[in-house]
Symmetry: C2
């Protein structure tokens, strides 16, 4: 899926934040990304995308975008499915970038048998189900509403997503921004992650809010348990009746979890105004104060060990 | 150290490459980086650097720079000490970016006892030895030649480094671009890496040319052996009589290893000219050809497993 599915959540989060000024946190920026080969990024990168992909590249891009924004205050990262893994992995790349992670139905790992089942059974099934080229707009909406993976989306999320993915060609035929080929390449690339995903997860130092759908089957229940055990800090939420696409099908449940988590992990209001000029004196004082603490603890000779 | 120490190697590599046109590889670009808080980067970022640092941030920056260059052909990454670790770790962030890694005396890991020794003994010793502020230029050069860690550098590397680090203040006093505080912050940040460095190393999929100095003691010999065992692919070189700063003290030995490794791992000449325009037809054919292979293997229903 693309950044369009988060529009609903973002609007609701701003509404909630602004109508509750007494909260310890306030939302000041929400940025939703299209993966390099998805949605608007796919259009932007048409003709230069590879036929191989590594999910971890998406984590890198995420960090690159986060850095480029030069945000002040505290940032968190939220992702779903492959994006859930990419959010988690981004904290290994840049451990100080995000205060915490919300990983919704992340796809993380699987043993050798799971990889075989995925490769031999799930990939062909998905390839059989995905359609991204249509005779006309009517056919496009019909497929999306009746047969696509997105058919059970919350109505607003469905409209946001389906409208944003649609490209009407000059001859009236319709295609999606994210091609079937690219989607399949991304699914297939999961096979690179499965053998070592759990090991990667176990190295995460940031708190992780791990959200699973109660009825979701895309990720086996055993994997959910293994991830819970592997995480060092954080909470687990199970959304009642939730399926794998719970972030799009029950967005209000997800929004509630985001709000709860912000309240739990954001301890004090940050000054989120971007200062036009760096206050060099204040910086120097702050640097010296903090460096002195480090020096006193580590850099001065005290006694033999 | 800074990018200045690589100038000698880069010149020699270009000379060798250009005078041996029959080689399977040719050097077309060499880029040496200053870490965010070192050398010219430190000046650029004055007043905004943190009093905490995570080595892994350097790997991210490395990848960001490599991406921004949009190089064609094959790239490799070379790093020393902390930079050795950062080069290795960069392949976990972006597994397809570099063909292989040359890690010279990388600092990778240590058990709890090693961390205690490092924190209690080595950090204060290093803090006692480093000096980055001087009464005048004469004092600067005297310290650098007689007492600094750099005193045994190859003469050309020494000049390149010491000249490039020098800042003469208006009052005639001298300071280095990389402050003592920042150097200590970077040394100290090793403590974040030691507990899990070896686990990270073991996940590297790219070939690693691992270079150690025969007489080096900064990294215990037991760690060298553990890293050798943990690496999946690659070679090990021990530079005779080499110390930890072998890349600067015996640059010709390192250059020879770089040349050998390029000959081993670069299998065919790449077209390294940057194409002004993407050949869309050629791209489409190439994409379809490669996607078809993937689809035939994975996305078509064949038989039950």
């Amino acid at each position: 899926m693309t950044k369009a599915v988060w529009k609903y959540h973002i609007n609701k989060l701003f509404e909630y934040s602004q109508s509750n000024p007494e909260l310890k946190w306030q939302v000041t920026n929400c940025v939703a990304l299209d993966l390099v080969n998805h949605g608007d990024s796919a259009l932007e990168n048409e003709g230069i995308l590879g036929w191989q992909f590594d999910w971890r590249e998406g984590s890198h891009d995420l960090i690159q975008v986060a850095k480029s924004l030069k945000l002040q205050g505290e940032s968190i990262v939220i992702g779903h499915s492959m994006g859930g893994f990419q959010s988690l992995y981004s904290t290994l790349i840049s451990p100080l970038m995000f205060k915490f992670v919300i990983a919704i139905e992340p796809v993380t790992h699987g043993d050798e048998m799971a990889s075989v089942v995925f490769a031999k059974k799930m990939l062909p099934a998905v390839a059989g189900a995905i359609c991204t080229e249509f005779a006309n707009e009517q056919e496009y909406y019909k497929y999306m509403k009746q047969r696509s993976f997105y058919r059970n989306f919350h109505p607003q999320v469905f409209r946001d997503f389906v409208d944003s993915e649609k490209i009407v060609n000059p001859d009236g035929t319709v295609r999606t921004k994210t091609t079937k080929q690219i989607q399949m390449i991304c699914y297939h690339a999961g096979l690179r992650i499965f053998p070592r995903g759990l090991e990667l997860i176990s190295m995460i130092e940031r708190p992780v809010v791990f959200v699973a759908g109660e009825r979701a089957t895309w990720t086996p229940k055993s994997c959910v348990g293994e991830v819970r055990n592997a995480l060092q800090h954080g909470e687990f939420y199970e959304v009642p009746n939730g399926e794998h696409l719970v972030n799009c099908e029950d967005p209000d449940a997800i929004i509630e979890i985001i709000q709860k988590s912000l309240t739990k992990y954001v301890k004090e209001k940050s000054d989120t105004r971007t200062s036009e000029l760096i206050d060099r004196k204040k910086y120097n004082e702050l640097f010296d104060e903090n460096y002195s603490k480090l020096a006193a603890e580590f850099f001065e000779r005290k006694s033999k060990i």
